[in-house]
């Protein structure tokens, strides 16, 4: 029932920048992701929620070509994630759940390194690095080694870096994990601004339901490797007769604590 209803919400197949069909990932006989299908429209902010170990990170890894699906299809920006790996990689930027900066390099060097890997021409690269470091308020610190940065500064730098090659999609895997409320607000402001001004499609995961409630336009909830609900925020609330996303989430995924699988 819910499956059918949400299929209707995918207004038009043509507008989907992320298409996932029957995606499955098996690790050592265990289904981490179990036959999921969903779509993300161009220009929207999409929240991908679920308890620990539900399959969020595995899904992101498959969407971003870091892991190959056991079965199923992923199309990003109309490219196939397995056969057109490089086209897919150029289409998105990513902020990983764990830090991924080289802390022996400066902020500028980390940006420059990224720009060269993504073949951004030199003039454009320099301009873009300045613009992005200004955007996340790190331009003054561009020549400091990243190891001198706080957690919040590192996150901001990672957001800036993920945008350097003008991706159409930005994946954010728990971007505000472990950050203070000030930094969290800042980071979401950057992201919303980015979505509005540069029309970047945002795909994020988080455990902070109030954040998802504030920024997400559409939501999918995954549990035990399966998508248990997807749709607009209001639809999900109506479906479960709850008032806040936090309640919706609990209603859909239960109270039980999950043992996270470490892969």
């Amino acid at each position: 029932m819910t499956e059918k209803k949400s299929e209707k919400n995918l207004i038009s197949e043509k507008n989907l920048i992320i298409k996932v069909k029957n995606l499955t990932k098996v690790y050592n006989g265990l289904k981490a992701v179990d036959n999921i299908s969903f779509g993300v429209e161009k220009g929207e902010i999409f929240a991908f929620l679920g308890p620990n170990g539900a399959g969020k990170t595995t899904t992101i890894k498959m969407l971003t070509t870091l892991t190959k699906p056991t079965e199923g299809l992923v199309r990003i920006n109309d490219y196939d994630s397995v056969s057109q790996e490089n086209e897919v990689r150029r289409s998105f930027g990513i902020v990983f759940q764990d830090p991924s900066l080289d802390d022996q390099l400066t902020a500028y060097e980390n940006m420059d390194f990224h720009g060269i890997l993504y073949k951004v021409p030199k003039d454009l690269r320099q301009k873009r690095i300045e613009q992005l470091l200004e955007f996340v308020e790190l331009w003054e610190r561009r020549n400091s080694l990243v190891k001198t940065f706080s957690g919040g500064m590192r996150r901001r730098l990672e957001v800036a870096r993920g945008l350097l090659h003008h991706p159409q999609i930005l994946f954010l895997d728990e971007p505000t994990l472990g950050l203070d409320p000030q930094t969290r607000t800042h980071i979401w402001n950057y992201i919303k601004k980015l979505n509005q001004e540069e029309k970047v499609t945002i795909f994020f995961t988080t455990h902070y339901m109030e954040e998802a409630e504030k920024v997400a336009q559409r939501i999918a909830i995954i549990d035990h490797g399966k998508i248990v609900a997807q749709g607009l925020l209001n639809e999900l609330k109506e479906q479960t007769k709850t008032k806040s996303l936090e309640e919706t989430f609990i209603a859909l995924t239960g109270y039980e604590i999950r043992d996270e699988e470490v892969k």
Partner: protein, 248 residues
């Protein structure tokens, strides 16, 4: 091409910025040169071997190239642990380019390290007669460096975390060094030991360095060059293959 360059440059920047690594990695060869060189020198001389410092120095240079190169290769584990590996693996570049850049970077660092030890050895009395063969000296250093950076990469591609690092140092790197003829001549050794030394690719590297620095070949230039070159080629292929198979 730019990808290879930036990965190469990163290895160099990391090396020169890590002061503790720079100093630490020079202390050990210096200790070996002084303690062994002067310690065994008189006996070696008495046994009509000539100057032990002259014999030992190429061996110690090979050692520091070996250690530095292995470490550079194994650094991938650190990159995995601290997340930077993901940044390179998710970029639209081929694994091959990443592998080439990293390996060249690691090998360059190892050659620099070997050169510094070479220069230091002059302070404790090492001399060479003929500077004509210096290009050969650099050639052999480069081959050793590439070989063991690739070996380190191959091992690190299969390792999940840093716990195995000590194991590799004790059961691979140390035996490779001690059983390479870096410290002793190969004449009249027990047969088993000779066999092991002959199977160790580093032995040909050590011998090549020794020949190039005028301390005399035991195997000969062509044998050293061909066997070391073949081992290096093979390890580069294996390393690239295993690196291309890394999944996060």
């Amino acid at each position: 091409m730019n990808t290879v360059y930036i990965l190469w440059l990163r290895q160099l920047k990391r090396y020169f910025r890590s002061k503790s690594r720079l100093i630490g990695s020079l202390g050990q060869p210096l200790l070996f040169l002084v303690a062994l060189g002067f310690g065994f020198g008189p006996i070696y001389q008495k046994a009509a071997g000539g100057s032990y410092i002259k014999f030992l120095t190429p061996g110690i240079i090979a050692m520091s190239v070996l250690f530095t190169a292995m470490f550079s290769g194994i650094e991938i584990i650190w990159d995995r642990q601290f997340g930077f590996l993901k940044e390179t693996l998710v970029a639209p570049v081929s694994r091959m380019e990443i592998m080439i850049g990293r390996t060249l970077g690691g090998a360059t660092v190892a050659v620099i390290q070997g050169t510094v030890v070479f220069l230091i050895s002059f302070l404790i009395g090492f001399r060479i007669k003929d500077f004509l063969y210096l290009p050969l000296f650099f050639l052999f250093m480069l081959l050793i460096a590439l070989l063991f950076t690739a070996l380190g990469t191959a091992i690190a591609s299969k390792m999940e975390d840093m716990h195995g690092f000590q194991l590799i140092m004790n059961f691979l790197v140390m035996p490779l060094f001690f059983l390479s003829g870096a410290l002793f001549p190969l004449q009249n050794l027990p047969r088993a030991l000779t066999t092991i030394v002959m199977l160790n690719p580093l032995s040909y590297g050590v011998d090549g360095l020794r020949g190039a620095l005028g301390a005399g070949y035991q195997f000969g230039f062509s044998q050293d060059f061909l066997l070391l070159g073949a081992a290096t080629g093979a390890l580069l292929v294996i390393g690239s293959y295993l690196f291309s198979k890394i999944e996060l």
